[in-house]
Amino acid sequence: MQESPPTATRASAPTTKTAVIGAGIEIAGDVSASADLSINGKISGSIVQSSHDVDIAESGKVKANISARVVKVAGEVEGNLAGSEKVFISKTGRVQGNIVSPRVQLEDGAIFRGSIDMDPAKVVKPAAPAPAKKTTESSRVATSAGSSSAGPDSKASGNGTGPMHAKVTGGKEPGLTLKSG
């Protein structure tokens, strides 16, 4: 039986892959994805971007601007959100920053502080993620939950019990580009 990594990849649709930053993963730097991106860990940088969707789970904490087609927040974000299609903050979501998106939806219980710009003319289209092959240096990744993969194309070394380095390489599959800050 083939053993699958716990959080490395998760197919959300037959044709779409989701890159997952697992709980316990901390990334200091920028993140760029050419697939849907699910963030369960922590990111601290200047930008997180995807040409698809970005989903910040309840355990996810992001201190960076986020740009994507759809941005969903169930965790914590300190930064600006640009959703070319939609931004959704669920009841557990906490956002401090400004939102630009044609459509914004808050769930009862969501905590938001900042401004919401719903002028479609001002929508910031997410930039196309940088090619993964341009990654120039390894990103510092600290793990505490044994989750050792930052994304579907990541190659990580380490035993899951302490700091390790994840080298992200590109390929034909959608994946992540990490750029350390």
């Binding site: 939609k86 959704f88 939806q105 009862d108 969501a110 401004s115 919401i116 003319a121």
Partner: protein
Amino acid sequence: MSTVATQIDGDEPASAPLRGLAQQPSKLFPSLFRSLATDERLTILEVGSALPETVDFFSRYKCRIHFVDLFAEPLMQNLHRVSGPEEMRQEFEKLLKFPDGTKLDICLLWDFLCYLDDAALRAFNNALRPYVSRRTRVHGYGIHHLAIRLENKQYGILEEDTLSVRKRRVKQPKTHPHTQVEMREMLSCFDFERGLLLPDGKLELLLKARNNIENG
């Protein structure tokens, strides 16, 4: 039909608890929008917390909404500790820090003015002044004597003529009643356009920018 029961699109369900929200009709609220060219981009200040129904309501307009939850600010529990008018103005200026050139079309103050003493009312007015233009309109509530019980409620917008009302989670600040004459004197940016005495004794207020405010 309440807009909150409507899904923005098919992939997210409308928030179920919103359907049970208490509602309050408003006769003056629709007037806020009548004089505005709503096909133009609106700039709105909401001094309460961001509520789903309010965001949903404004999603039909091209707009920027600034959510500044002044009710939750420590300043509101410590007004008496602020030493003087200048310090008070600076405190409000820190809270009302908008991008350069911002001019507000609509200010949603709800019952915020009821929690400001004389000095705070003047300071709030002065801090807001840079963002007030001839187009600025204000909706809020006032109380003119202490016998009127002000409940610790927060408001949202369901429709132009229907507000949502829910219990506010933060501690209620001390209330400071003002007569209309007092408010007119202290809110020097605004004139009273309309006032409506509500059954619970509150005064629903519609304010507009004074003539001496420059067009922005």
